[in-house]
Symmetry: C2
Subunit: 397 residues, 2 copies
């Protein structure tokens, strides 16, 4: 049986089986499917049953899931929807407040300067995958709040990257302000060039290709092309230093208006892929967090860190949103929408562990904190924000 | 850059990119897409450019590809279409002739008894994935020849399994005829029970589930369920000792008549998954074969082995097919359709290498032979069999 557990067939069937269980659980406790799936992931992972570990293959599938998810989310956005000064303002304050909060929490827990700086950095990142999926599930992706969340999250990803670079340099005792400049430069070039190439070249090329005899012969060609494009952009984003999912999202945006006539429907196909792979991704979020590694020593730190993580992001995003003229309820929706740290903080924690900025205990605390922040948004959205009617635009707008 | 090459995003985008290149190549040389994709796989793999290696992740994705492919192929078959005595007869002769042929080739090349037995075993298995995909591509899955090929290939898989067990036992000096009996027993029980559960329980359950408010709320649930079911059956087939793809195929057959009204269309979704994953699977067939490992010493053996592999399978299947009353052309179509060894022989070769039945040179020869047999069927189908009209039923039928 040992040999069977390691087979891809076993792992995928177990991950999907867990996802199905997640749906049933979610329906029973009347929560979002995402919450149910993550909780079942926790159950089959090392925390409880230990049936699946976060090995190379599961990690790879989870990556694919996040990429496909954000690619599909991208279809519903235009670039101009998400590139706005107000969103940059929300993102900036929403990165600084958690960074300071995380640093303060670590210092309060008796940690040194560089650990504190790193814990702060882990709190800066926003994982847009969960919020975006919940908004899509609730059919709320076209609201102003959703656009602000997505826009701010993309910028947030850039800012977190800068925070990570600064932290690394400061800890190594070699910080130069020029670092910020170069990161900003390459990221802005990437987003502009990738967006322009996607929208004006690739998308139009596919529409032309759709009318050729070649595609009439291979109607699946453009679908494979589109998925290749998504992964290619995801990869380039990683090379630039951004999350892969930002690249996938820009690839999705490129196809916002894509209309094909002779080929298979790219959006429909990607949606089907997303269903399977996002489910695997959410299960894996539960699998990666190992509650068993928690010790009593680290528990107070974990509790405070989680509260600080949520409060600093909610406050740090809702206040600038309100200042930008967004109504009170939408500002809170934005604040909680930015709160999940998800896989992004987990990746940051892994870097910290590997480069010995943080120890095993802090690593586990960040992982579990990240999971908990991830669970809160779907629960709050479902039970509170989207229960009654949408808020009136405030007089300021 | 080293770090990027190892990311799932890089590997998937490269594999899909290779698949796209495969389509272009296939169109240029006027061959089946499968041939083009495998050849481009060879190009990016260790044989030429060395951009992708057959690592755990790629291997895992390739497995998923084969499972999804056969699951989708299964939708077009009924169990009674493929369970026929004539097909068992074709399969049996089509296993014995290559086994003897492979043994004779190895002995001719100066190898010992146990190596010869093992080389023969590697020639027994049929990889149905390639032939089935080519038949689907050509819209010929509903022909009598296609049904015979699929039916015989499933039985062939059982017989190859028995051949492998016999070889292992004989080499270890502990052969008992009861082994055959137990393998046959568990395989027959698996196919009957899995088929019955799939067709009479799971499929009907899903139709009922389709009418519940639960599924109205989560229209993607049944799609995830169906994919879970496919991987579950694939896994059980592996536990029983069969190829995973036989399990996936039985899962697909179970859904042959599935009609859903409120849920997302399972067949459509699985078809989209198949497009991406089968492409990855075919690329990986090229990646796994490393021509560089070939030495001049082994070349004569490889050439003879490949010719023997093709001739013994064509003759060993076409003659019993003709004896069973199938027309001449269909008999040849069946013979060539059974010729690809694909990933099945590669897996057998890997077992042989790990258990030290064969050395590295013979291992490489089997891998490359397997690849070459895989290329021949699409080429012959496309350029010869399906160029002119389908053959008349022979007077015997």
């Amino acid at each position: 049986m040992e040999g069977i557990i390691a087979t891809p067939e076993f792992q995928v069937s177990l991950l999907l089986f867990a996802a199905l269980g997640g749906y049933l659980l979610a329906s029973r406790i009347n929560q979002s499917a995402v919450v149910g799936i993550i909780l079942v992931g926790l159950l089959i992972g090392p925390s409880v049953l230990g049936l699946v570990s976060y090995n190379e293959f599961v990690r790879g599938l989870a990556h694919l899931g996040a990429v496909v998810l954000l690619f599909v989310i991208g279809f519903e956005f235009k670039l101009k929807d998400i590139v706005r000064p107000a969103y940059a303002f929300i993102a900036l304050i929403g990165v600084i407040v958690p960074w300071v909060g995380g640093y303060a929490t670590a210092v309060w827990a008796g940690m040194d300067f560089s650990t504190g700086l790193f814990v702060g950095t882990a709190l800066t990142a926003t994982s847009i995958a969960i919020t975006a999926n919940v908004l899509q599930e609730m059919n709320k992706l076209q609201t102003d709040a959703a656009k602000a969340i997505i826009g701010a999250a993309v910028i947030d990803d850039v800012l977190s990257l800068i925070a990570l670079a600064i932290t690394g340099d400061v800890v190594a005792g070699a910080f130069h302000p020029s670092v910020i400049f170069f990161i900003l430069l390459k990221v802005i070039i990437f987003i502009l060039v990738a967006g322009a190439v996607g929208i004006f070249i690739v998308s139009r090329f596919l529409v032309k290709l759709d009318n050729t005899p070649f595609v009439a012969k291979y109607p699946e060609f453009i679908f494979i092309f589109a998925m290749t494009f998504a992964f290619l952009y995801a990869m380039i984003a990683e090379i630039v230093g951004l999350s892969a999912i930002v690249g996938a999202f820009i690839a999705g945006i490129s196809f916002e208006r894509l209309e094909l006539r002779k080929s298979l429907d790219v959006k429909e196909g990607a949606e089907f892929l997303k269903i399977i792979f996002a489910a695997i991704f959410f299960v894996s979020l539960g699998v990666v967090a190992d509650f068993k590694a928690l010790t009593l020593d680290i528990l107070p730190f974990l509790v405070v860190l989680t509260i600080v993580a949520i409060v600093t992001k909610v406050v740090g995003c809702a206040i600038p949103a309100r200042m930008a003229g967004i109504c009170r309820k939408d500002s809170l929706i934005i604040g909680f929408g930015m709160a999940p740290r998800g896989e992004v903080a987990m990746i940051v924690a892994l870097i910290g562990l590997e480069q010995e900025y943080i120890g095993q205990a802090v690593f586990v605390a960040i992982i579990v904190m990240s999971l908990l922040t991830t669970l809160i948004t779907p629960i709050i959205y479902r039970n509170w924000f989207f229960k009654d009617e949408y808020c009136e635009p405030s007089p300021e707008i």
